[in-house]
């Protein structure tokens, strides 16, 4: 079970969180013309990376904040975690 550093609450076990997918996906702006390809990429198409991956988790049994977690999908190593509004350098 992963041990995730919630930037709001501190180190907590994985069972307090729910997974939210790739954090690098950006929703197209509202009311903007979007091509089929762009929209498909946003809704469906995901890379299945082996290695370092920036992903979303929500601390559902804690502060309910969505956070970003930089994790290695092969080793499960977690490098850094970020608040929702933090820029990932």
């Amino acid at each position: 079970m992963l041990y995730i550093n919630c930037p709001h609450c501190g180190m907590r076990s994985q069972n307090e969180f729910s997974y939210g997918g790739d954090a690098s996906v950006k929703r197209p702006e509202l009311n903007k013309e979007v091509s089929d390809q762009e929209w498909d990429d946003f809704v469906y198409n995901r890379k299945s990376l082996r290695g370092k991956h920036l992903e979303l988790w929500q601390h559902i049994s804690g502060c309910r904040q969505w956070i970003k977690v930089e994790r290695d999908t092969a080793t499960h190593e977690i490098f850094r975690t970020f608040k929702a509004d933090e820029e990932v350098a």
Binding site: V43, Q58, A84
Partner: protein, 998 residues
């Protein structure tokens, strides 16, 4: 029965407490502190079971967790548990156990015929034989194999034992309380670190309990006792016996199973049977020791053949002699230690050593005691069927290929030692890259992936002096990093006898003309010949060899067999062992009760049960409940002998004619507050929200980004920047997360807060033509007329002194209202509604009537919003704004979603107006068409229309709009029904929706 093999004044058992127990129906006696194995051996019982495949007689091979044979069916406190290792099960008064794998009895077992058919049962036998004819599999092969396979029998009764889970955090978790575990725990504890020390056996001390050593001028055993006693007094230390750390998971999470009650005749009141610990440790110190490995020879599974360390443990811990004429067969000095213990207790052993000229302090001691020793000698085969009677022995050439003349030697047990295998399971599970250590012919931990370190014998270090030094140091350094204390601890003097290099010899060649079975894996009956077949048939990877032969796949997971298997493969393949590599170690290290893994989450406790504030009233009024998500809701209120059908029909009819009241507390409720609340709703819902006035409610549908309907519900504007959103019961949690996702990540600029208020409000839906009259009596000071409170209107009212929210919304299609009060007043509200409603013939109605009412009205619910439908499918496209953007809008342009013949909701009535259509039935054009008969749609919900008094269903049907008036068939292969039906409008009652506005 006497304990003929028990010797006086030896061992750690409590001889003041005699215990009686039964094995295979015979009563025996043992002492407190015995295991079932030691007590049986004390009584001279060596035959405990039959082997898995050949049904050969089997006895005891080890004295602990590594035991492959002595697996019994245990009976305790009128319960039974299979696959219990007799070597681990502590004796208690009244214990009962039986042998497994035998019928009719362990002494006379019909399955033993397999032993004579063994030539027909080689590796891969099952794969090759039961392939054809295909029809034989279900009828003949599978039932036969099922009966023949498996060890014990699981109880079919409900397990009344209780199991607990516990979460714990510590600085240092130490697995194993042998010398290295004790030393490192002590050093870390002295530095103030929070330490958990786990020992799987009942007694602490590991090898110190049986070895002949001195630490700080005390015996090893006394030193261990002293350390444990001191650790137990320290507040920063948790010391646990009978606790096996069986799994090492990610991020230093380890799981430990604590046997709290298995050693007692019955579980104490308020105590669990087992406790599963989830431990998150900053550092893990693995001091799990090592397991002696066997040398492979002919008939090496005969009862009486056992590990020499086990024989020593039975003697020193339990005061039990495993034989009176022991033969010790060894390739290292450990065998001599066992021989010396025999000699000291008046038994004359013979030692066969495969080495030519071994010399060491231990061997000198054996020599001085006058023990009969033969060098360059091996056991060729054990002889005897149910017990060793004699052994065929021979000298062996230096290259270990040629045997000398076979001689016979009388013996009643053969104690075998093929050196030691470090227990690296936990390290390997943690991701550690293990490496092969030539000097000990075994794998040891190498590069760590997580914060773990392995010490002592588990790390291939067999010198006590070195083990203590490294362990004190590791304990102190690891704890210093965490606590920043550095209390120096003097390392005690160690007196131990030096041993010499072991012989790299593990398998005795077959003598000419003999075809003895030489077993590698004792529990799964895998012999040398089976591995040879696997390799001959082309299996190369050790993982494939394992699966083809089942080597190492039994409940003991090859603790005594893996390394010898590797040696054999490497020898045949002419590779070095590290090139062959070992199979993956996976948790659990030892079998763990399913009950312990499940813990308290059993039956009704497997998820929370939520009850509305009116639950007790429902109970008192004969409600029959149904699970709705995590909630319990009344399905119907039983009157007299009514069944579900009759009661729900009565309740629904009463809503259509008078007035009914339904508990709708379970609906999800979310408070949406903030200056941008309207904007958020406008983006979340498909319809437009910016112009909704205060005091008005609106129905909304929300989509996922892929265009599929996620949820629906009404949202009411309570005040300028405050909205009350409702969701379906099932989707409440998901909708909240959905809103939080957009507010926190996508549109953080929106100034809105959302919070769940589901449990803060109790809700009652009052529906029916007389509902306004009732409402007026409930709120005499409010104007609830059609003008004062129009359809989709909202007001606050005073319910006999309690503040209430009144919504004019309807799910039933009737004139209807929903009243909310704070949860604590829920029951008060409910009772008032019932009391005041009496004159209007009010009746409570449950979810079944609720469904009936909505189905015949054509209102969609979870069965239509099933994660596969878009607004059009549910005839909700009128709610999809063309002007503004919202979540999922772009997806609605997908070609499949705009197709001409897109599926759509319709009504379905059976032609005979009698037969109810099972939910899930498929709609087809031709009921006689050959399979696969492609479906046009499916029945999503069915009811008995109270308005028309005939069955009515909703369906999602391809090209639904054009199908009205057509005749189709509803087919349910599950219920074996074919029903001719007619497609009608989904609005079966009040198609113009006049009632809700009346």
């Amino acid at each position: 029965m006497t304990q003929a093999f028990r010797i006086k004044n030896v061992g750690l058992i409590n001889r003041d407490k005699k215990l009686s127990f039964k094995f295979n129906g015979t009563t025996y006696f043992g002492f407190e502190g015995d295991t079932l194995a030691s007590a049986l051996l004390a009584n001279g019982v060596h035959l405990v079971g039959r082997s898995f495949k050949y049904h050969r007689p089997r006895g005891f091979f080890g004295a602990g967790v590594d035991e492959p044979y002595a697996v019994v069916q245990l009976y305790r406190n009128s319960e039974t548990e299979p696959n219990i290792k007799a070597t681990e099960q502590e004796l208690f008064e009244g214990l009962e156990a039986k042998s497994v794998n035998c019928w009719p009895s362990v002494n006379f077992d019909i399955g033993a015929i397999n032993n004579f058919l063994k030539i027909f049962l080689p590796a891969g036998f099952y794969y090759k034989t039961f392939m054809w004819p295909k029809s034989f599999w279900y009828r003949i092969y599978e039932p036969f194999i099922r009966k023949a396979a498996g060890l014990g029998v699981a109880s079919t009764k409900h397990d009344k034992e209780r199991y607990e889970h516990k979460y714990e955090y510590c600085d240092l978790l130490i697995a194993g309380s042998g010398p290295s575990g004790l030393a490192s725990a002590y050093a870390a504890a002295k530095n103030g670190a929070k330490v958990i020390l786990a020992e799987d056996k009942p007694r602490f001390g590991g090898s110190l309990l049986t070895s002949d050593v001195n630490i700080g001028n005390q015996s090893g055993k006394d030193w261990a006792e002293g350390i444990i006693a001191e650790l137990k007094t320290m507040p920063n230390v948790v010391v646990k016996n009978r606790s096996q750390i069986f799994g090492y998971y990610d991020h230093n999470m380890l799981v430990m199973s604590e046997k709290v009650s298995d050693h007692l005749p019955e579980t104490k009141k308020y105590h669990p049977n087992k406790r599963l610990w989830y431990i998150r440790a900053k550092e893990v110190l693995i001091s799990s020791g090592s397991i002696e490995r066997p040398i492979v020879f002919g008939n090496n599974d005969t009862p009486g053949v056992m590990l020499s360390s086990a024989a020593k443990e039975y003697l020193k811990v339990y005061g039990v002699l495993v034989g009176r004429k022991p033969l010790v067969f060894t390739n290292n000095d450990s065998g001599y230690e066992t021989a010396i213990e025999f000699k000291k207790h008046g038994v004359d052993p013979v030692v066969l050593d495969s080495r030519k000229n071994p010399e060491s302090e231990i061997i000198d001691e054996a020599k001085n005691l006058g023990i009969n020793m033969k060098n360059s000698y091996v056991v060729v085969a054990a002889q005897g069927y149910k017990k060793v009677k004699y052994a065929d022995i021979a000298s062996i050439s230096e290259d270990k290929k040629k045997l000398g003349k076979i001689e016979s030697i009388q013996c009643d047990c053969i104690c075998v030692s093929g050196f030691w295998t470090p227990t690296i399971h936990l390290a390997s599970q943690s991701g550690n890259k293990t490496k092969f250590k030539e000097e000990i012919d075994a794998f040891v931990p190498g590069q760590s992936k997580q914060n773990e370190i392995t010490l002592g014998a588990a790390n291939g270090v067999f010198s006590l002096d070195e083990t203590l030094k490294t362990s004190f140091k590791a304990g102190s350094e690891l704890s210093k990093k965490i606590t920043e204390n550095d209390n120096e601890i003097p390392i005690p003097n160690v007196v131990e006898k030096k041993s010499s290099q072991h012989d790299r010899f593990w398998c005795v060649p077959l003598p000419k003309g003999k075809n003895y079975k030489r077993f590698l894996d004792f529990q799964n009956d895998v012999a040398v010949s089976d591995v040879e077949i696997a390799l001959r048939e082309g299996y190369r990877s050790i993982e494939h060899v394992k699966r083809y032969t089942t080597l190492g796949m039994a409940t003991d997971q090859g603790k005594t067999s893996n390394l010898n298997g590797l040696q054999l493969v490497s020898e045949i393949e002419n590779k070095v062992v590290p090139a062959v590599g070992h199979t993956t170690f996976r948790p659990p290290y030892t079998p763990v009760s399913i009950g312990a893994i499940v813990g308290r989450e059993v039956g009704k406790h497997s998820r929370p049960t939520r009850k509305s504030p009116m639950h007790e009233w429902h109970e008192k009024n004969n409600a029959v409940f149904v699970d709705a998500g995590v909630w319990l809701r009344p399905r119907y209120y039983k009157r007299g002998n009514e069944n579900l059908f009759e009661a729900s029909k009565r309740e629904a009819k009463n809503v259509r004619t008078n007035v009914g009241v339904c508990d709708v507390t379970t609906l999800g409720k979310i408070d949406v507050k903030g200056p941008d609340a309207a904007e958020l709703l406008n983006r979340v819902y498909t319809n437009s929200w910016l112009k909704l006035p205060v005091g008005k409610a609106r129905y909304g549908v929300m989509l996922r980004e892929d265009g599929i309907v996620m949820d629906d519900g009404t949202t009411t504007r309570i005040s300028e920047s405050h909205y009350h959103m409702t969701t379906t019961t099932a989707q409440a949690a998901n909708v909240l997360s959905h809103l939080e996702y957009y507010l926190q990540l996508v549109w953080p600029e929106l100034n809105v807060n959302v919070v769940s208020t589901t449990e803060q409000w109790a809700g009652a839906a009052i529906a029916g033509p007389k509902s306004r009259d009732l409402l007026q009596k409930l709120f005499p000071n409010s104007d609830v007329s059609n003008e004062g409170l129009p359809f989709m209107g909202y007001m606050e009212g005073d319910l006999f002194g309690v503040k209430a929210r009144i919504f004019r919304i309807s799910f039933s299609g009737e004139l209807a209202y929903e009243v909310n009060v704070e949860s604590d007043y829920g029951n008060f509200m409910w009772e008032k509604i019932i009391e005041v409603g009496e004159e209007f013939n009010i009746q409570p109605y449950g979810t079944e009537a609720l469904s009936t009412l909505r189905i015949e009205m054509g209102h969609v619910a979870g069965s239509e919003l099933d994660g596969r439908t878009i607004p059009y499918d549910n005839a909700l496209e009128g709610l999809v704004s063309k002007k503004k953007d919202f979540i999922g809008k772009r997806s609605l342009q997908r070609s499949a979603f705009t197709a001409e013949n897109r599926q759509r909701i319709v009504g379905v009535v059976p032609l005979d107006k009698q037969t109810s259509i099972p939910e899930g039935s498929h709609l087809v054009k031709d009921d006689k068409a050959p399979l696969p008969n492609s479906k046009l749609g499916h029945i999503s919900a069915s009811c008995w229309s109270v308005e028309h008094d005939n069955p009515f269903s909703l369906a999602i049907l391809k090209d639904g709009k054009k199908m009205i008036g057509q005749k189709l068939f509803a087919m349910s292969p599950l219920k074996n029904k074919v029903i001719p039906v007619e497609i009608v409008s989904s609005h079966y009652v009040d198609p113009k929706g006049e009632r809700v506005r009346s």
